[in-house]
Symmetry: C2
Subunit: 480 residues, 2 copies
Amino acid sequence: MPAPEKFTSFIDENADSFIQRLKEAVAIPSVSGDPKHRPDVFKMGSWLQSQLESLGVHTKSVDLGKHIMDGQELQLPQAIFGRIGDDPKKKTILIYGHYDVQPANKSDGWDTEPFTLIVDNDTGRLIGRGSTDDKGPILGWLNVLQAHKDLGLELPVNLRFCFEGMEESGSEGLDELISSEAAKGKAGWFGGVDAVCISDNYWLNTRTPCLTYGLRGLAYFKVTVSGPARDLHSGAFGRAVHEPMTDLVILMSKLVAPDGKILVPGVDEMVSAASEEERKIYDKLDYSIKDIEESVGAPIALSSDKAAVLMGRMRYPSLSLHGIEGAFYGAGAKTVIPASVAGKFSIRLVPPQTPEAVEPLVETYLLSEFKKLNSKNKLKVENLHGGKPWVADYKHWNYQAGIKATEAVYKRTPDLTREGGSIPVTLTFAESLGVNVLLLPMGRGDDGAHSTNEKLDRSNFIEGSKLLGTYLYEVGAITA
Amino acid sequence: MPAPEKFTSFIDENADSFIQRLKEAVAIPSVSGDPKHRPDVFKMGSWLQSQLESLGVHTKSVDLGKHIMDGQELQLPQAIFGRIGDDPKKKTILIYGHYDVQPANKSDGWDTEPFTLIVDNDTGRLIGRGSTDDKGPILGWLNVLQAHKDLGLELPVNLRFCFEGMEESGSEGLDELISSEAAKGKAGWFGGVDAVCISDNYWLNTRTPCLTYGLRGLAYFKVTVSGPARDLHSGAFGRAVHEPMTDLVILMSKLVAPDGKILVPGVDEMVSAASEEERKIYDKLDYSIKDIEESVGAPIALSSDKAAVLMGRMRYPSLSLHGIEGAFYGAGAKTVIPASVAGKFSIRLVPPQTPEAVEPLVETYLLSEFKKLNSKNKLKVENLHGGKPWVADYKHWNYQAGIKATEAVYKRTPDLTREGGSIPVTLTFAESLGVNVLLLPMGRGDDGAHSTNEKLDRSNFIEGSKLLGTYLYEVGAITA
């Protein structure tokens, strides 16, 4: 049961107004990780809720309480629940997405204003923060609803929605909400859900659609070294006092080797090496060293062995140093000794690693390395957030529907991949609801989520909207 | 010949209006190191020039041409020359100061807006960027001129002024200007100058005025590691590509040890160790480990040996890591792999070190350490600016005048110190004009120049204005 032709035509015919709606969404700088943007996150949640309501979805804004960020008590952005359809003969699919985005400043190196969606007709790109992560995919679902409402078409499944505004900052409050809703069974918002679909990741390359059945987890750390009560002049105090930057940089240099090996004892060792048979899975994927070099824009792959690079991304843990808070970061030359500096780094986890197992290893190691420095400065290690890795059964009907929908829209069989990123809520849904979760990406591997000049190709937005709708019809065909 | 009593009384009686003028000066954010503040630097130069004119000083604004900063071509801030008095029977003193300031943002950790001068009556502090470095001291000279104009008093010396707006960014263009003016001899603005006085450093502690006869030089480096064409998502690319932050942090960790030892081969080795006799000079200074711990606000002195700490600051080189440009620096948790990151660090130099001798050692060392990483990323090492160290003859009449003036105003003999900071122009004046240069500080050791919450004590501003005036009378007494 492919989607009706008038559905896919409607998507094509209304592409411009769909892009206009994406422009509206991108214009709201809903950065969850920056306290000063918190009102924008709320604004984005309200905007999304009113869009859903106008498309016939019954919604509810859920208060998730307060939390502490950078020493401030802040209200958590609302979760938006939605439901449309209650036909017991139809399957019920729960859709998840997030309406918050990563930080972005033009000064980070963007070519255009990050919160103004640029439609580049030469390249076919829609450029702006959140275009692909995750506003584009959320709006893909709105496009599907719009088509059915305007065409007077009946949806092939019952839909439930769960949208959050804290995904980029650890999804605070969401796990508890999902668990408590799940515990209500039939009476809860997720009562009767047969499977979950999440569109919040990317194709492996720029050509081949994929379905994703595994994700790495995450353990995010902040390691702070504090010394003087305030920043000092390096002329007046250089070689007179213990400098926090000296200590922190040495600690950070002991976390990961240039070849990607994690130096925290016990972390890499938790994961068994791949067998020759497992290597073959990666050898078969539509991916080359040239692909990775194209998507990053430089010949810097860690290996010339394709399977090794793919396994580094999908089935091994990684440790990345993100930056330092509190040090001099501007242009030019400032001769400061920063008083307190906080290194940010994170470890991507794979089974059987968990944040709970990895965090004590990191803490113990940093404390012991700091001791060796004989510094009079103070060390503090914090876990900012974490999530377990996840792997799903790709033989489930939910995945089969995704495969058929991809074949219908893109005329090709998707790759089945595991992904390097983390969407911790995936695991929460799988565990709380006990149902299969499908990751059905909209964007391409070079979209630059979390990066400067984030984009979503126009064709991925439009064909992707068709894909999401067609997937619902393929799920519907299973009940038929 | 102490200053006339009516001069010092005038300074006391007009303290509030002098503070009001300092408030006006601090309100102009003349940050020379940030291209977007360049118009404010020009504004500050114009403000200063019109103040001088209104006080009877004949001035000239000198165009220093253009330069490149962060890839932009920018007009250099004007130098302001001034002259008042041409009596051949009087000595002629050249005054130098700078009207630009270090960067400052409230988000760096300031308790108040950095460009709003706060008069804290409880602590007696004047808080704001530039209050002590170097707007306070410049305004000290204006206060002296104001007193003489309003009281109808004749100045005891001829004065020449040279104020610049690029001191915090390497004094670009100034060396050439001073050399070419000096080459004009009697016909130039510096013709007939007998000595130079600069008020742009600090007391060693918070109690004892000092005169400074030595300064460390500076070599400031930017080491850039670049990899991908844009920032990457650490989930998608962690352990797949060479990460610039990993490489940079390892390089930075190899520059300086936690105990202050410089790890670049050959740099520490250029400087001979202190003899037992030289140690005694430092043992005698009015300074204790408690002083340094009070001025930095934490018990983090590198040693419990006072002479060792003072020598670390005054007669040994130091290397400080200032920060990283291009990495994540904000609050919260961003899972980015930054595309290009630039570490900033500087080495404070002492005789016989020079930037020219040290820079190749640093470059060679960084290139060789980078090679060991086997990284496919790219390395670039740049020298952002540099200045030689300087030592003067403190038995010269210029210093004797400074000592007598301090005794007259503060009723105590000043310490004679060498300082850890760099004012490269000091050496330029000494070498180009062939005259003695006196550093006569106004502020205290805990002022926090270049730091958050920079302040100048009200008493230092007022007594310091008296000191500058009295110094001129003591110089005048030499001709009498």
